[in-house]
């Protein structure tokens, strides 16, 4: 029982990083901008969170700092991709490399140091008493609830239950039609790219203040790329992103459990397992209902919008 609860708890912790990063990416992709800079944003967020906490000893200020730094980097990215309309793929790569390099350089003085303060668990009364599920689900820190409940609920409501959300989705599908309908495409894209970047960067803060309580060069270890893949895997839907993140975290944690319990499976195979399962989940529905449109990617994803082009 304790093992099961521990497994679930680790899965949630490691899945939370992916959930936050992927939810941020979703915001940008829904308005048609592919942001491949998630890895760099996470590194920047992780570094600035630890730097801020080192000075202030308040995890929330660290979280806020990550949001702001992510937003700042997002403004640069949005200027390049939405205003100047440069290639989104190249700009995303640049953001990743720039973010990783910049955070490594600025973060050098406090690399390897423990975070000045971390998020402490906030048990939800009564619910945390449920056997197995209680300790895993309801004795987590606030950013976990944010990543798994509050944020996906807010984004799902925004995207699918409001008029503004309809506008957002329409911009991702057909910016020219939106433009003709009098919707200002570029400003809305700009805002959501910046907002998404801030949320993605906060995944870095969650990582260094909630999961691995210190910052060091390379701490993100490629999770940003998985977050980008997760958005596609989840079919651009917030609740599925959360489910996917949890699944990924679960398979990941299962790999370590298998080693700890000595099931005799080679560690390299277990390390591959999360990716294998992801692949399986992407292929399986396609095989089951052949021909149907499986991944409903926004039609204008990755395409800069020019009004003049006919």
């Amino acid at each position: 029982m304790e093992v099961l609860s521990g497994l679930l708890s680790t899965a949630i912790l490691s899945g939370g990083v992916l959930a936050l990063a992927a939810l941020g990416e979703l915001l940008a992709e829904r308005v048609g901008v592919l942001n491949l800079g998630v890895e760099g944003l996470m590194a920047l967020g992780a570094m600035s969170a630890v730097a801020t906490v080192g000075a202030t000893h308040d995890p929330w200020l660290g979280f806020l700092a990550a949001l702001l730094v992510g937003g700042g980097a997002g403004i640069l990215f949005a200027l390049a991709t939405v205003v100047v309309r440069a290639s989104q793929v190249l700009c995303g790569m640049a953001l990743t490399m720039g973010g990783l390099g910049l955070s490594a350089t600025i973060g050098r003085p406090f690399a390897g140091q423990p975070a000045g303060a971390t998020f402490s668990p906030l048990p939800i009364p009564l619910l945390d008493r449920i056997p197995v599920l209680g300790p895993a689900l309801f004795q987590q820190s606030v950013p976990v609830y944010l990543a798994f409940l509050l944020l996906p609920a807010a984004i799902a409501w925004l995207l699918f239950r409001t008029r503004h959300g309809l506008t957002l989705r329409a911009i991702g599908e057909n910016p020219a039609a939106c433009d003709a309908a009098g919707i200002r495409v570029a400003p809305i894209r700009f805002c959501y790219v910046v907002l998404g970047a801030a949320v993605s960067a906060s995944a870095g803060a969650y990582l260094t203040l909630g999961f691995v309580p210190s910052w060091s060069d390379g701490v993100t270890a490629g999770r940003g790329w998985i977050a980008v893949a997760l958005v596609i895997f989840a079919g651009y839907r917030p609740w599925r992103i959360v489910g996917g993140a949890l699944l990924f975290g679960l398979v990941n944690a299962l790999g370590y459990l298998a080693q700890a319990r000595n099931w005799g499976v080679p560690s390299a195979f277990l390390a591959m397992l999360p990716y294998g399962v992801t692949l399986l989940f992407m292929i399986a529905p396609g095989l089951l209902r052949r021909g149907g449109a499986l991944i409903a990617a926004p039609a204008a994803l990755g395409v800069p919008y020019y009004r003049d082009e006919k």
């Binding site: 497994l7 973060g107 210190s214 060091s216 944690a253 370590y256 459990l257 080679p266």
Partner: protein, 363 residues
């Protein structure tokens, strides 16, 4: 007929290249004036890792102090790929007289070394030797054994855990020596190993540590470059021994001790020899306990008598005692080292089977 001729030509060429390089008596590389000397360090990780690469960076700083007129080159985070060869070639083009490579790059390094016969190459944990190539490592198994003695006394459940990188000799040596040390005082102790397939991935190592603790392990040992295991141990109220540097501030209650690294003396000595024209390539240098590696001062929660007992073992080893004497069985129960036999330093360096009681590593 032409085909036959070409074939015989090919065969001759193959025979030529297969012939071993003429073994000459090792002649030292020519002396270099300090003001003209160029010393290069190629690191596997970032110098800010607070561990492995950090300690090598300290050696560079020490060498800078010892040879203030020399020029130093340093490149961090060199991937184990063709990029490494390019970087090492760059060192040679920049006039490097001696190159330290802080992890095993194998052929990626040798291909450069064979073309630059006037440059000395030292590969950490390497295996190749030639006129201008040698390698160095530490006898970490001795320190692991000492730490293991303390662990055997401190673990209540007798279940020890090891978080390692890849199934390489260093991991076998670490886990085996630690358990043998523990078994010398607690004969029923066992060791569970988890490999995370990386030298540096704090997320993975903290998950691995959690998984071990959830399965009843109450004392962890890790040789990874980051301190996540110690932090997880502190949070879960268990103990942890680590590698590289003193990290007790990250887990004051969990900290048992650490296998400290100190390359300063070795690197300064090698550079000195190279400058004086006394450096020769050749077999690996395995730095013993007390010269390059040692245990850290015991942690605050280590009982004084446990520390004293482990230190007595340490003193015996430094006096020349080899704890790796038969009979030692592997995990399958086969006797690998018979009674009266001892493992040689090279056997320990190339350890590739788990001892009895170690699970999670393949035999």
């Amino acid at each position: 007929m032409p085909i036959l001729r070409r074939r015989s030509l090919l065969a001759a060429a193959a025979a030529l290249s297969a012939m071993p390089r003429a073994v000459r008596a090792a002649t030292p590389l020519a002396a270099v004036a300090e003001k003209d000397a160029v010393v290069a360090f190629g690191h596997i990780g970032p110098v800010s890792d607070g561990g492995w690469t950090f300690t090598h960076h300290q050696a560079l700083l020490a060498a800078k102090k010892a040879f203030p007129a020399a020029k130093f080159l340093e490149v961090e985070s060199i991937p184990v790929s063709a990029d490494a060869t390019r970087t090492f070639r760059q060192f040679v083009e920049n006039g490097a007289n001696i190159v330290f490579v802080t992890s095993e790059y194998g052929d990626l390094l040798s291909s450069v070394a064979d073309d630059a016969t006037d440059t000395a190459f030292l590969e950490c944990n390497g295996h190749r030797q030639s006129d201008n190539e040698s390698s160095y490592y530490i006898q970490h198994w001795m320190v692991s054994y000492v730490l293991g003695v303390a662990a055997g006394r401190m673990s209540k459940t007798g279940r020890l855990g090891f978080v390692g990188s890849f199934p390489v000799a260093a991991v076998y040596g670490c886990a085996n020596a630690f358990l043998l040390g523990a078994r010398s005082v607690a004969p029923h102790a066992t060791m569970q190993v988890i490999l995370i397939n990386s030298w540096f991935d704090p997320q993975a190592s903290s998950q691995a540590a959690s998984a071990l603790i959830q399965n009843g392990v109450d004392l962890l040992y890790t040789h990874l470059d980051d301190a996540s295991c110690l932090q997880v141990a502190e949070k879960n109220n268990v103990k942890c021994a680590t590698w590289n540097t003193d990290e007790r501030r990250l887990g004051p209650n969990a900290y048992v001790s650490s296998l400290l690294l100190d390359w300063n003396g070795f690197c300064v000595d090698q550079i000195g020899r190279r400058l004086k024209g006394q450096w020769t390539g050749g077999p690996i240098t395995l730095l013993p306990m007390g010269h390059g590696t040692d245990r850290d001062a015991w942690g605050a929660t280590v009982p004084p008598e446990v520390g004293r007992e482990a230190d007595a073992v340490r003193a015996r080893i430094m006096g020349g005692w080899n704890p790796f004497a038969g009979e030692i069985r592997d995990a399958a129960g086969t006797v690998r080292v018979t009674r009266g036999q001892s493992m040689t330093p090279m056997a320990l360096y190339e350890w590739n089977w788990p001892v009895e009681g170690v699970s999670g590593l393949r035999g």
